[in-house]
C-alpha cells in the first residue's frame, strides 16, 4: 500500500543542510500494524507527516496504493484526506468550541455526507466507544483517554484505509493508554492499516511490525512473531 523509495527530508539553514530523514526505504502492506520507535528528534513525526501527505519529501519516490503522490493538486490531496488517510494526535487536537458530537461529525461534513446519514454514523461510533452520554460535552470536560477516543472516532468515521497515529498515548496514563491501544488493535483486526509512533516498548508490541528510527535512518525493522 505504501512504497517509500530513497526518501530524503532536509532543511536548509544559512550555513548547512540538516537531514531529518535520509534515504528511507519502506514498504507497508495493506492490513499491517506498524509501530515506529526512536528517540526524540529522530524524524518519526516527519516520516508520518510525509506518509500522511501533510509534508513532502525533499527527494525520493512515494507510491500510495500504486499511485505517485508527490506534488499533488490540492483537490486530490484533500480527497485522500477525506477518504483514505486519517490522523490521531498526541494532543488529541479536538476543536474546543465544538461538542463531542460535532467534533466527530466534522469529517463527514467535509466529505459531503447527508445530515441524516451523518447522524446514524456518529451514533454508531458513540455507541461503539461507549461515549453516548458524553456527546453534548465539550472536549475540555472529558478525561484525556476519553478525548483520545473521540479523536479516534473522528479519525475513523470516514472509514479510512490508513490510520496514522503520532504518539496517541503520549499524554495518557498507562491504563488509558492500553485502552487506546486495544482499540487500535481492534481496528487493525477489522482490516485497517495502522502506523503509530510511540516511545513505549509495551505499546510498540501491539504492532505486528516495529521499525526503529535513529538520525533519520531506519536502524531496525522487525516483524513480531505471533
Amino acid at each position: 500500500m505504501i512504497q517509500l523509495t530513497n526518501i530524503d527530508k532536509y532543511y536548509d539553514s544559512k550555513f548547512q543542510r540538516t537531514y531529518v530523514l535520509k534515504d528511507i526505504i519502506l514498504e507497508v502492506k495493506e492490513g499491517e500494524f506498524l509501530s515506529v520507535m526512536g528517540p526524540s528528534g529522530s524524524g518519526k513525526s516527519t516520516l508520518l507527516n510525509i506518509i500522511g501527505l501533510m509534508d513532502s519529501p525533499s527527494s525520493g519516490k512515494y507510491l500510495l496504493d500504486g499511485n505517485s503522490v508527490l506534488d499533488l493538486k490540492e483537490k486530490v490531496r484533500v480527497d485522500y484526506h477525506r477518504n483514505f488517510i486519517s490522523f490521531i494526535f498526541q494532543a488529541y487536537h479536538l476543536i474546543e468550541e465544538m461538542t463531542v458530537y460535532e467534533n466527530i461529525e466534522t469529517p463527514l461534513i467535509y466529505k459531503g455526507v447527508k445530515s441524516h446519514d451523518r447522524e446514524s454514523m456518529v451514533a454508531d461510533l458513540l455507541d461503539r466507544f461507549n461515549i453516548v452520554a458524553k456527546k453534548d460535552l465539550f472536549p475540555q470536560q472529558l478525561s484525556g483517554g476519553q478525548q483520545q477516543l473521540v479523536g479516534i472516532a473522528r479519525a475513523i468515521i470516514s472509514k479510512p484505509k490508513l490510520l496514522l497515529a503520532d504518539e496517541p498515548t503520549g499524554n495518557l496514563h498507562s491504563t488509558q493508554g492500553e485502552m487506546i491501544m486495544e482499540t487500535l488493535k481492534e481496528l487493525n483486526n477489522e482490516g485497517m492499516t495502522i502506523i503509530h509512533v510511540t516511545h513505549n516498548e509495551k505499546f510498540a508490541q501491539y504492532g505486528k511490525r516495529i521499525i526503529r528510527l535513529e538520525d533519520g535512518n531506519i536502524r531496525s525493522d522487525t516483524n513480531r512473531k505471533t
Binding site: 513525526s45 507527516n49 501533510m54 509534508d55 490540492e74 483537490k75 484533500v78 484526506h81 477525506r82 490522523f87 494526535f89 498526541q90 494532543a91 487536537h93 479536538l94 476543536i95 474546543e96 468550541e97 466534522t106 469529517p107 467535509y110 466529505k111 465539550f138 475540555q140 470536560q141 473522528r154 470516514s158 503520532d166 504518539e167 503520549g170
Partner: protein, 780 residues
C-alpha cells in the same frame, strides 16, 4: 514594559496608534474649527445690543434713506450704521506703486461703536468722521505701505480720488460674519461712487441697516416703528424684524456678490462634528479590539493569571496606564500631524482656523485631560474583563470565553461596518447632490471667458469689441452686468401693467443682444432684442418665473416703468426665456428681468473649441490687448465655468471635507478589521489545521473565516440603511433643488463595504488557510 509589548506586535500596535493619531488629528481640526465657528462674533463689547434690520429669509437690503428717518424719529436707537460693499472691488494705489485690488466696505462713522476692533495705529472713535478717510487692516497696510506707518498717508482709489488712512486695525482673533480689508464712510461713498438716487429714493435698496439699541429697548417694537417709516412697505420687507447680530452668522440670509457679510452653516458643522465623532468611534473600537485581544494573549502566554487572584489591582493599573500612554503618544502625533496637514486642509476643504491655537498650553492641557478620560473609559472594559477572576479561570478551560469574546468583537466590528456604510452612502449622496447642482444649470458655461470691465475699459467698449473680434477663435462678444457669483440688483416696485396694479419684485441686470447666444438661453415666447440699439431700446426679456409669480398670461408687449428718477421710462417685454440657474442652484430661481441698457460690468467672450494651446494663446492676446486699453487698472480675466464653480464652492468644499473624513474613517476601520482578522486567524490556527487534516479545502477554510464578517456586514447594512436615509433626508431639506435618495446609493455602499471588508479579511484568511497544518498541530 510598554515599549517591549509594542515591539512584540508591531503591526497591530501600529494600526492602533496610527488609527488613534489620525482620528484624533481629525477631531482636533474639526473641534477647533467648530469652536471658532460657534464662537463667531461673541467678542464685540456691545454685540448683544446690535441688530440687523430686515427679513432674513427674504431680503436684508434696505434703502439708504431709512437711516435718516430712524435717526430723526425712533428714540430707542442709539446709533444706526448702514453698510455696503463697493459694488466691485476697487484698486488702491500709493504713489507710483502698482495698484492693488482690494475689497472695500462702506459704513457710517459709528461703525466702531457697534463692533469691536483693535487699532494698531490711529483712533477708531473718530477715524471715519471726515469724508475721504479710510481705515485699513494690518494685512492691507503691509501690502500698500510695507512696514511704514500708514496713518496720515494717502492712496488713490480707482486711479481717481485720494483717500487718507486714519487708522490701521488688527485682524480680529476670532471669527466674524463681517470681514473687510478697508472701510470708509458712507459719506465717502457718496463722493467716490455716486450712484443714481441711492440716497434719496426708497426704491434703491443697496444697504444693510445695523443698529445699536439703547439698553432695555425692545427690538420687536422698534422694528415696528421702523417699518412705519416706509411710505410704502416693500413686499420683501413686510415681515422685517430686528435680528440679533450675535445670531446672524448662523442665519441663512442671502447676499450678492463680493459681500463683506458671510454666514456659516450650522447644519454643516453639526454634520462634520458627527463625522469626527464617528471617525473617533471607529478608532476607539479598533482600540478596544486590539487592546483586549493583546492582553488576553499576553496573560495566557506569561501565566500572569496565577498572580491575578492576589493582585488584581496591579493588573488593572498596568492595563490602564498602558492604554493612557498609547493615547498620549497618539495625541502628540496628532498635534504634529495637524500642524503639518493644516495648509492642505485649508486649501482643499476651506476649513479655516488659527493653527496657533492648538499649541497653546490651555488647549494641550485640555486635550490631555480628555485623552486621559477617553483612555480610562475605553480600556476599563477590557481591563475589567482581563482582571475579573471568572475570565481568568476560564482561560485554561476555554469553553465559553472564545464565544463571548467573538460576540463582543462582533458587536464592535458591526458598529464599524454601520459607520462605514452610513458614511459611504452619505459620501455618494453629497457627490450626487453637488453634481446635480452644477450639471444642468440651463445655460452654457464652457469656452467663455469674462473680462471684468475696469473704468477705463468701460469707456472704450466699442474699441475693445473691435480688438477682440480680430482675434482668432473668438466667436461672440457680449457686454453685460451679469457674471456668476457677482452681485445682482434686486428691485421691488409698485407698477401699473396694462391697467392692473401689481407689486413687482425681481432680479435684474443689463445684457446686450449677443448675451443670449453666448449663454445658449432658450426662448419660449417672443423674441430677443436685435443688435441695433437705436431701434430696440427700452426692451426687456423676462424669465418664466416672472410670468408665474406675476400671473401674466400674455406678457409680450406688457410695459412698466424701469429705472428711477431721470432714467425712468416705460420698458416693454419682448421675450421670455426658459428659467436658468444664474444664481447658485440651492437658491430658488426668482423673477428676472434682463434689459438692453448699455451699462455693463463684464465683457463675455465665447471662444470656439480648438486645441488647448491656441485657446490659451488667444486668452493671452486678449489679456494684452485689454490691458493696453486699461493702463491704470489691472484687468481681470477669468473662465466663466470657474466662476460658476465658485458659486458652488461651499458645497464643493463640503463634499471634499466629507469625502476626506469618510475616507479616513474607512481606512482606519479597514486597519481595525485587518487587526481583528489577524487575531482571529491566529487564535484559530490550530482549528484550521485540524479542519484541513479532516478534509477541509482551502476554499472551505476561507469561507469559514470570512463567514462572520459577511454576517456582520449584513447586519450592519440592515441597521445602517434607515440611519443613512434619515440623515440624508435631513441634510437635503435645506436645498431648494435636491437630488433623489436612490436605492442604489445604499446598495453601492453596502456592496463596497462588503467588498472592502472581504478583501481585507481574505488577506489574512488566505494566509491562514494555505499554511501547512503540520506547524499548527506540532506538539510543543
Amino acid at each position: 514594559m510598554t515599549i517591549r509589548n509594542f515591539v512584540r506586535k508591531p503591526v497591530t500596535n501600529l494600526i492602533n496608534l496610527v488609527g488613534l493619531a489620525v482620528s484624533l488629528a481629525l477631531v482636533i481640526i474639526l473641534s477647533v474649527y467648530s469652536y471658532s465657528e460657534l464662537t463667531t462674533d461673541n467678542y464685540h463689547k456691545n454685540g448683544d445690543r446690535v441688530y440687523l434690520f430686515g427679513d432674513l429669509t427674504k431680503g436684508i437690503y434696505t434703502p439708504a434713506i431709512l437711516k435718516e428717518h430712524i435717526d430723526l424719529s425712533v428714540p430707542g436707537v442709539e446709533s444706526t450704521v448702514r453698510m455696503a460693499s463697493a459694488w466691485e472691488a476697487p484698486t488702491f494705489q500709493v504713489g507710483n506703486n502698482d495698484p492693488i485690488t482690494s475689497d472695500l466696505l462702506f459704513a457710517d462713522e459709528d461703525f466702531f461703536k457697534l463692533l469691536t476692533y483693535h487699532p494698531v495705529e490711529g483712533n477708531l472713535e473718530s477715524a471715519l468722521k471726515e469724508p475721504m478717510s479710510v481705515v485699513i487692516t494690518t494685512m492691507l497696510s503691509e501690502k500698500l505701505f510695507g512696514s511704514d506707518q500708514a496713518v496720515g498717508k494717502t492712496m488713490k482709489i480707482n486711479n481717481d480720488k485720494e483717500l487718507t488712512v486714519t487708522a490701521v486695525i488688527e485682524a480680529p482673533k476670532a471669527n466674524s460674519c463681517i470681514s473687510f480689508s478697508a472701510i470708509a464712510s458712507v459719506a465717502t461713498r457718496k463722493i467716490v461712487f455716486p450712484n443714481g438716487d441711492e440716497f434719496t429714493e426708497w426704491g434703491w435698496c443697496n444697504y444693510q441697516t445695523f443698529m445699536l439699541l439703547k439698553k432695555g429697548i425692545n427690538p420687536d417694537e422698534t422694528a415696528k416703528k421702523i417699518l412705519a417709516l416706509y411710505p410704502e412697505i416693500p413686499p420683501d420687507n413686510s415681515a422685517a424684524k430686528l435680528n440679533p447680530f450675535t445670531k446672524l452668522y448662523f442665519s441663512a440670509f442671502n447676499v450678492y456678490g463680493n459681500s463683506y457679510l458671510h454666514h456659516g452653516d450650522k447644519k454643516k458643522i453639526m454634520i462634520l462634528v458627527m463625522v469626527a465623532a464617528l471617525v473617533l468611534m471607529i478608532a476607539l473600537v479598533n482600540f478596544i479590539n486590539i487592546f483586549s485581544s493583546q492582553w488576553l494573549d499576553k496573560i495566557k502566554q506569561t501565566g500572569v493569571m496565577k498572580i491575578i487572584g492576589a493582585k488584581r489591582s496591579t493588573i488593572l493599573l498596568n492595563v490602564l496606564s498602558e492604554a493612557f500612554l498609547l493615547f498620549l503618544v497618539a495625541l502628540f502625533i496628532a498635534i504634529i500631524l495637524v500642524g503639518m496637514i493644516n495648509p492642505f486642509i485649508q486649501n482643499y476643504t476651506g476649513i479655516r482656523f488659527n493653527p496657533q491655537f492648538i499649541y497653546s498650553p490651555g488647549f494641550i492641557l485640555l486635550s490631555i485631560a480628555i485623552v486621559f478620560v477617553l483612555s480610562i473609559l475605553f480600556s476599563i472594559i477590557p481591563a475589567l474583563r482581563i482582571s475579573s477572576s471568572n475570565a481568568i479561570d476560564n482561560l485554561k478551560k476555554t469553553i465559553e470565553q472564545p464565544v463571548s469574546n467573538s460576540f463582543f468583537g462582533g458587536v464592535l466590528v458591526t458598529t464599524q461596518f454601520i459607520i462605514a456604510i452610513v458614511l459611504l452612502a452619505f459620501t455618494v449622496l453629497v457627490q450626487k447632490q453637488v453634481n446635480f447642482g452644477s450639471s444642468d444649470l440651463g445655460f452654457n458655461q464652457n469656452n467663455i471667458i469674462g473680462i471684468k470691465l475696469t473704468p477705463q475699459l468701460n469707456g472704450k467698449k466699442e474699441v475693445l469689441k473691435k480688438l477682440l473680434q480680430e482675434k482668432p477663435n473668438v466667436e461672440r462678444i457680449s457686454f453685460t452686468q451679469y457674471y456668476p457669483g457677482k452681485q445682482i440688483s434686486h428691485w421691488g416696485t409698485h407698477q401699473d401693467i396694462n391697467g392692473v396694479k401689481k407689486q413687482l419684485s425681481f432680479d435684474t441686470f443689463n445684457a446686450d443682444a449677443t448675451f443670449f447666444g453666448v449663454l445658449g438661453l432658450q426662448l419660449t415666447q417672443g423674441r430677443f432684442y436685435s443688435e441695433d440699439l437705436t431701434t430696440d431700446t427700452k426692451k426687456m426679456v423676462v424669465n418664466e418665473t416672472f410670468l408665474r409669480e406675476n400671473k401674466m398670461e400674455n406678457p409680450i408687449g406688457a410695459k412698466f416703468v424701469m429705472g428711477m428718477g431721470m432714467d425712468a421710462g416705460l420698458s416693454e417685454i419682448i421675450g421670455v426665456v426658459k428659467d436658468f440657474h444664474y444664481k447658485a442652484v440651492n437658491e430658488p430661481i426668482v423673477s428676472l428681468v434682463m434689459q438692453n441698457e448699455p451699462n455693463a460690468f463684464y465683457c463675455l467672450v465665447s471662444l470656439q473649441t480648438t486645441d488647448f494651446k491656441s485657446l490659451h494663446r488667444t486668452i493671452d492676446e486678449i489679456k494684452t490687448a485689454s490691458s493696453q486699453l486699461s493702463p491704470s487698472f489691472p484687468v481681470e480675466i477669468s473662465f466663466f465655468d470657474q466662476a460658476v464653480e465658485n458659486m458652488y464652492k461651499s458645497e464643493l468644499e463640503f463634499q471634499r471635507t466629507f469625502s476626506l473624513f469618510a475616507g479616513c474613517a474607512i481606512v482606519i476601520g479597514c486597519m481595525g478589521i485587518l487587526a481583528m482578522s489577524l487575531f482571529m486567524c491566529q487564535r484559530r490556527i490550530k482549528e484550521i489545521g485540524i479542519r484541513k487534516v479532516n478534509g477541509a479545502t482551502i476554499a472551505e477554510v476561507i469561507t469559514l473565516l470570512n463567514k462572520n464578517f459577511v454576517k456582520w456586514v449584513a447586519i450592519a447594512f440592515v441597521i445602517a440603511t434607515p440611519i443613512a436615509w434619515y440623515t440624508m433626508h435631513k441634510w437635503l431639506e435645506d436645498f431648494a433643488y435636491k437630488t433623489e435618495i436612490s436605492w442604489w446609493i445604499f446598495m453601492v455602499s453596502g456592496m463596497l463595504t462588503l467588498g472592502i471588508a472581504l478583501l481585507t479579511v481574505s488577506w489574512q484568511s488566505w494566509k491562514a488557510a494555505t499554511r501547512n497544518p503540520v506547524e499548527a498541530l506540532r506538539y510543543e
